[in-house]
């Protein structure tokens, strides 16, 4: 009931946005702030010296590719949904979700690679930070995959089409955001490790 009010009345405002979409953007702001805090902490701590140097696991290059591919497929699904091409929507959604899961598995292997290099969560903060970055990002990614699965299921129930795009749009926004966040973290670590 409340949603109906808010949507209808929200539409009157010239600068208004769908309140739920807007809330998602605000949520993404909070996630940005968490990682901004952590990465600044990384820089501040690094500048104090006593910093363990090591190579980043090569798996990160593959997982970065996978997350980009996943975003591309999701976007294709989104464009198809706008054109009511429901088969392509389902294919795109399925691949994107699958690639999301592959990304998570890949991140797990990055932990394995780190352990092989004798870099552990417990030890010099330089390694601990890496675990925290990837781990916390993976945790957010799990929420993104759950969101993908929910939209995937509703796409099989014919609930996603050009007239009903809000959950799909929010899902796409969030997924692109998480992909972008990973690319930021990866670039950050490449530049500052």
């Amino acid at each position: 009931m409340e949603e109906r009010y808010s949507y209808v009345e929200g539409a009157e405002q010239p600068i208004a946005m769908h309140p739920k979409k807007f809330s998602l953007w605000l949520f993404m702001v909070t996630v940005v702030m968490v990682f901004a805090g952590l990465t600044s902490a990384y820089i501040v701590r690094q500048s104090e010296g006593n910093w363990l140097e090591f190579e980043l696991p090569a798996v990160f290059y593959y997982t970065s590719g996978i997350i980009i591919l996943s975003s591309i497929f999701l976007h294709w699904a989104y464009l198809s949904a706008k054109k009511n091409e429901l088969v392509q929507l389902r294919i795109g959604m399925s691949i994107a979700t699958f690639l999301g899961l592959v990304f998570l598995v890949g991140q797990w292997y990055s932990f394995v690679a780190l352990v092989d290099m004798d870099v552990y969560l417990v030890g010099n903060p330089s390694g601990s930070f890496l675990y925290i970055f990837t781990g916390l990002h993976a945790l957010h990614l799990v929420s993104g995959v759950i969101f993908l699965i929910i939209v995937l299921i509703s796409s099989f129930r014919y609930k996603v089409h050009s007239q009903s795009m809000v959950p799909m749009e929010m899902c796409v926004t969030y997924w692109h955001f998480l992909g972008g966040l990973w690319l930021y973290l990866f670039t950050f670590m490449l530049l500052n490790h």
Binding site: Y5, S6, V8, E9, F22, R45
Partner: protein
């Protein structure tokens, strides 16, 4: 206007719903109604204020009467009172820590911002409810869970967290450091995680409601200053609480998983060096104060917003400098993020960096002074009506001035070397942040009580409550300045350990007595609050003759706030005593075209525009009605 029609229809649907589906649980417990959620925050906040206040009385007893036999507290505190009737020093630290945590987060963040943002935002901007009622409910229940966990921690064998409300590592990171760094600290961190989630859910909701759900005509330049304050508070919360989360997360890893973010080369209690290496405790301070300083404004801004509204209404004058008020709040919001290191002047920081933060800190005096000036000029030659809410607002202005002045000294990195972590700091922030915000909260409760419960609070009890609290607060905190200038550090268990501070025993006794009286005075409020809820004089629709939208709702608004269409807004919220007008206030819902006698020249211009819009809408309305029939 098709949308307006749909809205009014769904409102009717909703009233219909009420008759059938609303039971005790959906109405009072898992409610989605922003008004009820606001009241839940208020009552929970009052509960925590009593606990927080009571803890402070306990440690004030120790400070004021160091030789006192506290055996009579044994039934309550058990083992924390030793056989000689003395308070356990570790429990003293826990009391101080819990008092700070509870007051800052549970009372003045959740109890103040949670109550009034929830209650007033939809009512004052003309919305049926928050953007997401469900998230709003979640916000309250996360706060509730957080409170339950914190409450449980009070009864642990080793006591609750004891490292001060800022929980600096390494003290808070090592269980063997003090008893309060054990399980109590773990529960503190869990509780704060829930609290952060609650604040973020609330804040996201407030911002998206203010931006998206304003009624027709409610432009940003017509928002009451309360809404501006709540809005900016929520923005600060959204940007700063995640960083506290990051700080707490790393602390959790240091405590429970053996990482060394904040720990390095530590020897403790005769053991060899701990394995932790490479961490930096100052890192925690940076992360913490990046939240910690904005938190001060999260606490203060809503109180300032409430004060603007109450003072304008009860001076029967437009607020002086409406735009200046908004700009100074914006200025405070932005500056609040670039001054955090003034809490760390003595942490070994580069003095050059210190002077930059000192400069930025002192700039905050400008928007703060603008606000004070505007409050005073609004009061100047107004037709003052001294309601209890008005008195508490004026009290806030007084504390804001007297506490703000000492901020200028503390913000100075050289003077801070002497004053850092002394009672001077305690006096400063209890006046400017603690008492000022508390008075804002009280002003809000007295002012909006009729809207919350449909009844008036007793004014005479309100006056007694005000004077006892106002005088009491000054008696408690003013002497602390002297103790602080003399150099006595805060958080110390006893004043009698050193010769130089022994001479303050009498002063401390005086402070403690004043604190007990002030605390006792709060029970007058408590009685007034609950008694008036059921037995108070019935309120009229607009008891303070105020202009804002909430007073256009029924006396006891249902879920959805307005039974019919949501009223449109045609003017700013401060049309009090407008020359030429027949009444001394013109509600925001009165079109300019209805008041030609009091319109200013530029408003006369707007009348034409207004008429065109109204004519257009009539056409649409007629068209819709014919379509429907």
């Amino acid at each position: 206007m098709a949308t307006a029609n749909v809205a009014s229809h769904s409102a009717h649907d909703h009233d219909h719903d009420h008759e059938h589906h609303e039971n005790f649980i959906t109405k009072y417990i898992f409610t989605l109604d922003h008004k009820m959620i606001g009241k839940q925050f208020l009552v929970t906040g009052i509960f925590w204020a009593l606990i927080g206040g009571f803890l402070s009385i306990l440690f004030r007893l120790q400070l004021g009467f160091p030789d006192m036999d506290m055996t009579f507290l044994k039934p309550l505190l058990g083992g924390w009172i030793d056989d000689g009737g003395k308070l356990d020093p570790n429990f003293y630290l826990a009391l101080v820590t819990m008092h700070g945590t509870i007051m800052v987060f549970f009372v003045l963040t959740a109890g103040l911002s949670g109550t009034f943002s929830n209650f007033l935002i939809p009512l004052q901007i003309g919305a049926r409810d928050m953007a997401s009622g469900f998230m709003n409910m979640l916000s309250y229940w996360f706060f509730f869970i957080s409170g339950v966990i914190m409450f449980i921690s009070l009864f642990l064998e080793n006591g609750p967290a004891g490292g001060g409300w800022v929980v600096y590592p390494p003290l808070s990171a090592l269980e063997q450091a003090i008893p309060g760094s054990g399980m109590g600290m773990t529960l503190w961190l869990i509780a704060m995680t829930f609290f952060i989630a609650s604040s973020l859910l609330g804040g996201i909701n407030y911002v998206s409601t203010v931006i998206n759900l304003r009624t027709k005509g409610m432009t940003f330049s017509r928002l009451p200053l309360t809404i501006w304050a709540f809005f900016l508070t929520a923005v600060i919360g959204i940007l700063s609480f995640p960083v506290l989360f990051a700080a707490a997360l790393l602390l959790v890893f240091d405590r429970s998983f053996g990482t060394s973010f904040y720990l390095s080369d530590i020897y403790i209690s005769g053991e060899g060096a701990l394995p932790n290496t490479g961490g930096s405790p100052v890192l925690y301070q940076h992360l913490f104060w990046f939240l910690g300083h904005p938190e001060v404004y999260i606490v203060l801004l809503p109180a300032l917003g409430i004060t603007s509204e109450v003072i304008a209404t009860n001076s029967r004058k437009p607020i002086f400098g409406y735009k200046a008020m908004i700009i100074s709040m914006l200025g405070i919001t932005i500056l609040s993020f670039v001054v955090w290191a003034h809490h760390m002047f003595v942490s070994g920081m580069n003095p050059f960096l210190g002077s930059i933060f000192m400069f930025l800190t002192l700039i905050i005096a400008i928007p703060s002074a603008v606000k004070v000036f505007n409050y005073l000029t609004t009061l100047w030659r107004g037709n003052l009506i001294f309601t209890p809410g008005m008195l508490f607002s004026i009290g806030l202005v007084s504390f804001f001035i007297s506490g703000g002045l000492t901020g200028i000294f503390l913000g100075n990195s050289a003077i801070d070397i002497q004053l850092h972590d002394t009672y001077f700091v305690v006096a400063h922030f209890h006046l400017v942040m603690g008492s000022a915000s508390f008075f804002g909260l009280m002003a809000g409760v007295y002012h909006w009580f009729p809207k919350m419960f449909g009844r008036m609070m007793d004014a005479r009890l309100g006056y007694i409550h005000f004077w006892l609290t106002f005088v009491g607060v000054y008696l408690v905190f003013f002497p602390m300045h002297y103790i602080g200038i003399a150099g006595f550090p805060r958080r110390y268990y006893s004043f009698t350990t050193y010769d130089f501070s022994s001479m303050y025993t009498d002063l401390n006794m005086f402070v403690s007595v004043a604190a007990i009286i002030t605390f006792a005075a709060q029970f007058i409020f408590l009685f007034n609050f609950f008694y008036s809820m059921y037995r108070g004089r019935k309120a009229s629709a607009n008891p303070w003759r105020s202009t804002t939208l909430e007073w256009t709702t029924p006396i006891n608004p249902g879920h959805g706030n307005w039974p019919g269409e949501i009223p449109s807004v045609y003017r700013w919220p401060y049309d009090y005593s407008k020359p030429g007008a027949s009444e001394d206030f013109i509600p925001q819902t009165v079109p300019l075209s209805a008041t030609p006698e009091s319109n200013l020249p530029h408003e006369q211009e707007m009348v034409k525009l207004e008429k065109e819009i109204i004519a257009e809408e009539d056409v649409v309305l007629v068209a819709n009605e014919s379509k429907e029939s």
